[in-house]
């Protein structure tokens, strides 16, 4: 039976990360872009957990702790990002990121 190794975890994390980036780049809806960001964060969290399982000395939980932080951070980030989106919508009446290009100014 196939042994689940670090490479499999990393591969899944990489796929997750690629999916996140793809979503961020390709989707116009700002909420979808936020979802892409969540995917990337989760890919990173998965890497931490995987490295902690396979690479850390026994008894150390640094990876898990980092993952907990990432989840908290993602929650906070989602809250702030949604607040920004709400403001954006009030300003421009849309959540299309192509319309919100005032950052170049």
């Amino acid at each position: 039976m196939l042994e689940v190794s670090l490479q499999h975890y990393l591969l899944v994390a990489a796929l997750l990360f690629a999916a996140g980036v793809g979503v961020i780049i390709s989707r116009r809806n700002a909420i979808a872009v936020l979802c892409g960001v969540e995917l990337i964060l989760n890919a990173a969290a998965l890497n931490f957990v995987a490295f902690n399982r396979y690479a850390a000395p026994a008894g150390r939980l640094d990876g898990q702790v980092f993952t907990i932080f990432i989840i908290i951070l993602a929650a906070a980030e989602a809250a702030i990002a949604l607040a920004i989106l709400l403001n954006l919508f009030q300003q421009t009446n849309t959540v299309d990121v192509d319309e919100a290009d005032t950052m170049k100014e």
Binding site: I24, I25, V33, D98, D101, T102, M103, K104
Partner: protein, 733 residues
């Protein structure tokens, strides 16, 4: 009398007519018209000058056996530059016997002409202006006499020239008068240009010896000549230049004194009012040329001047020959003139030729003596002709004739003057003409070859002609039957204001010769005039103790014996002069008698019979004479067109070569400029604009990445990450 007093009086003589002119000029400037009493102002001024001149004559020149001691003074006028390269001009004043004598002549004639003109010009337009010009002329002429600086003399020379121009063209509404004035002015420019060149040559040569000093004073020039005679000074090795300068200076005299071939202006100058002809174109201004070469005589004589052996000097030869030719040439033309004034004008030319020739053959005394006597009788003749013209309102002698009975005073004075100019004994002209002829004959005898007799031959032939043509004029005007009955009936003697000057001049024409008579009746030992106007008195005594003049040999041929210190050249000349004296006198008497008799025969006895026409060669010659030897024709038809052709050629050269070169160079410069402009626009501006555009494009390119779209930023990040990973794989892998 103290020296400063003499100078002051001399300057006063010069200044009085200037004052009269200034009064008129200022009046005209302020009131916009000349003072109506200008005639009185001018006449009084010249009268004052005359009085002072006579005072100087009697108190100074009459005093000693050789007249007055020359007095000089010098004022600095200006200096251009500084140090050794400065050009300095002084107003040098020299008052000696000659100056005072000339003062007297000029002032006597000028005064009488002023008096005469008040009547003659009465009622003419611009009457006050006439006197204004006369005053300016008198001032200029007197200034010319008083200065002893060649440059100052030239300035006054030009002033008398411009006065002559004003007065010839006085009748401005007559075209011929304007033309004659222009002709006189233009012809005189030729001589003046040469005169100026001569002055520059002299100044240039002398400036080496006396750098930064006034080198154009007579004294400097005389001293240089004397030094040359001793073999030192600034002119050693420059004898040719000195001779050329002498001839150039003489060219000035040739135009002013109307010498052939530059005489053409003088007969035309008769377009001016007759008193002007008498004063300027007979008695005084035209004599200025002779006066000038007398003052410049040492220059003309050159190296031999001090030793008294100067009779072969090239400049003097030129002067003698030109004078002789002029005398004969003008004398022949005078034979056929039908215009009374023109006849007199050619006679003036001829007599001026006499004076010039006298200087050329080495006697300034004879030249000046003839100038003085001529001034009186020629002024008398001209004023007499004016009186006739006033009476018959015509200058043509065909309108005259038989006027003897109607105008007794004019006739008598005219006759006396004719006798004087012809050289009849007991009249002044006899003595002066005999002095000239005697000198010319002595020159021939001394020279010893045929060519030496040329001046005498010309002068002797002229002596005969003079008697002939003068009496022709006299007979045609006053004798015979009236040519125009209507005009004859209206003719009358002129008023006293015109006839009195005639009488005075006629008296002077008789007695003026007396100044050359032996003093104290001791014949042959001393002559009043020649003792006062000769080489020794005029130059050596003026120069005083200048060492270069020590031992100078003076030609004083009027003395029975040569001076005790005379060397061989002078003694020999002296001997020759006395040798030829008596034959010349007899010959000149014969010439006068034959001339007068011939004129009487042709124009009184056989009047109306045209003898000349019956002899073909003479008739042909008369045509030549009537055409004035074709001199004017050659000038107008040949010389002037040639000059114009040359001018056209020069113009063509100017346009075709010089202008073309300039234009070509300009065009070339334009082309280069155009090319440079293109290079600038394309290459230089192109580089600048190109780099600007490049930067702009780069900026635009960079800007395009920053489009404000967050997704694009992420995209770039991913690409960058991809590139980094590829690099990492390739480099580290």
């Amino acid at each position: 009398m103290q020296t400063p007093d003499t100078i002051i009086i001399a300057l006063l003589i010069v200044a009085l007519p200037l004052a009269a002119w200034t009064i008129g000029f200022l009046h005209a400037a302020v009131r916009r018209r000349l003072p109506s009493g200008q005639d009185w102002i001018s006449t009084c001024a010249v009268g004052g000058s005359l009085t002072l001149s006579l005072y100087l004559l009697f108190s100074q020149v009459m005093a000693g056996p050789s007249g007055m001691q020359a007095v000089t003074h010098s004022w600095r006028w200006f200096a251009i530059g500084s140090g050794d390269h400065a050009f300095v001009l002084n107003f040098d004043v020299l008052v000696d016997n000659l100056t005072v004598a000339m003062f007297c002549v000029v002032n006597i004639v000028a005064f009488l002409v002023h008096v005469y003109s008040r009547s003659y010009m009465h009622g003419e337009d611009r009457y006050p202006r006439f006197f204004l010009h006369l005053s300016l002329f008198t001032f200029s002429m007197l200034g010319l006499l008083v200065t002893s600086n060649l440059m100052m003399l030239f300035i006054f020379w030009e002033l008398v020239g411009v006065c002559s121009y004003f007065l010839i063209g006085f009748f401005i509404l007559k075209k011929s008068a304007g033309d004659a004035a222009k002709k006189a002015f233009v012809v005189n420019r030729i001589g003046d240009a040469c005169f100026m060149a001569g002055i520059f040559m002299i100044g240039g040569l002398l400036a080496k010896q006396w750098p930064g000093q006034d080198v154009l004073s007579f004294q400097r020039i005389w001293e240089s000549v004397a030094m040359l005679g001793h073999g030192n000074g600034p002119w050693v090795g420059h004898e040719t230049e000195v001779a050329v300068a002498g001839v150039l200076v003489f060219m000035g005299c040739m135009t002013k004194s109307a010498q052939f071939p530059l005489h053409v202006w003088l007969p035309d100058a008769m377009e001016g009012p007759t008193p002007v002809s008498a004063l300027i174109h007979a008695a005084t201004m035209v004599a200025a040329g002779v006066y000038m070469i007398v003052r410049m005589f040492p220059l003309m004589a050159g190296k031999g001047y001090v030793s008294g052996d100067f009779l072969d000097s090239p400049a003097l030869w030129v002067i003698a020959i030109v004078g002789g030719i002029t005398a004969l040439f003008s004398g022949t033309i005078a034979l056929v003139q039908t215009d009374l004034k023109k006849g007199l004008a050619y006679s003036t030319c001829s007599q001026l030729g006499y004076m010039v020739m006298a200087v050329g053959v080495g006697s300034i005394s004879a030249g000046m003596f003839h100038l003085f006597t001529h001034a009186f009788f020629k002024a008398c003749l001209f004023l007499g002709s004016g009186s006739v013209i006033h009476a018959v309102h015509s200058q043509e002698m065909k309108d005259m004739g038989g006027l003897r009975a109607k105008m007794p005073i004019t006739y008598t004075t005219f006759l006396i003057s004719c006798l004087a100019i012809a050289g009849t004994p007991l009249f002044s002209g006899f003595l002066s003409k005999e002095a000239v002829l005697g000198q010319a004959a002595a020159f021939g005898e001394h020279h010893g070859s045929l060519i030496g007799w040329v001046p005498f031959a010309l002068a002797a032939a002229t002596a005969f002609l003079t008697a002939f043509y003068m009496f022709r004029l006299l007979f045609l005007t006053f004798h015979g039957k009236p040519g125009n009955q209507h005009k004859f009936e209206h003719a009358h003697e002129s008023p006293a204001a015109m006839s009195m000057p005639l009488v005075v001049l006629a008296v002077l024409a008789v007695i003026a010769g007396g100044i050359a008579l032996p003093a104290g009746l001791d014949f042959g030992t001393s002559h009043w005039f020649q003792d006062r106007v000769n080489d020794q008195v005029l130059v050596q005594d003026t120069m005083g103790a200048t060492p270069a003049f020590a031992g100078m040999q003076a030609h004083m041929v009027h003395r029975a014996e040569p001076l005790p210190n005379a060397n061989e050249a002078v003694t020999s000349f002296h001997h020759h002069a006395h040798h030829v004296h008596m034959p010349v006198m007899l010959m000149s008497l014969c010439a006068v008698v034959i001339g007068i008799a011939g004129a009487w025969l042709l124009f009184v006895r056989r009047r109306g019979h045209d003898l000349v026409a019956s002899i073909p060669p003479l008739a042909k010659f008369r045509v030549v004479l009537s055409n004035l030897y074709y001199v004017d024709w050659v000038y107008c038809q040949r010389l002037v067109p040639t000059v114009k052709d040359i001018a056209d050629l020069a113009k063509a050269f100017d346009k075709g070569v010089i202008d073309a070169t300039v234009n070509y160079v300009a065009r070339f410069a334009c082309d280069i400029a155009w090319f440079a402009g293109r290079v600038d626009a394309i290459v230089v501006d192109g580089a600048v604009n190109g780099s600007g555009a490049l930067m702009m494009g780069l900026g635009q390119f960079c800007r395009s990445f920053v489009n404000g779209k967050i997704q694009d930023y992420v995209k770039y990040t991913v690409w960058g990450l991809g590139v980094l990973m590829i690099w990492a794989v390739l480099a580290l892998g």
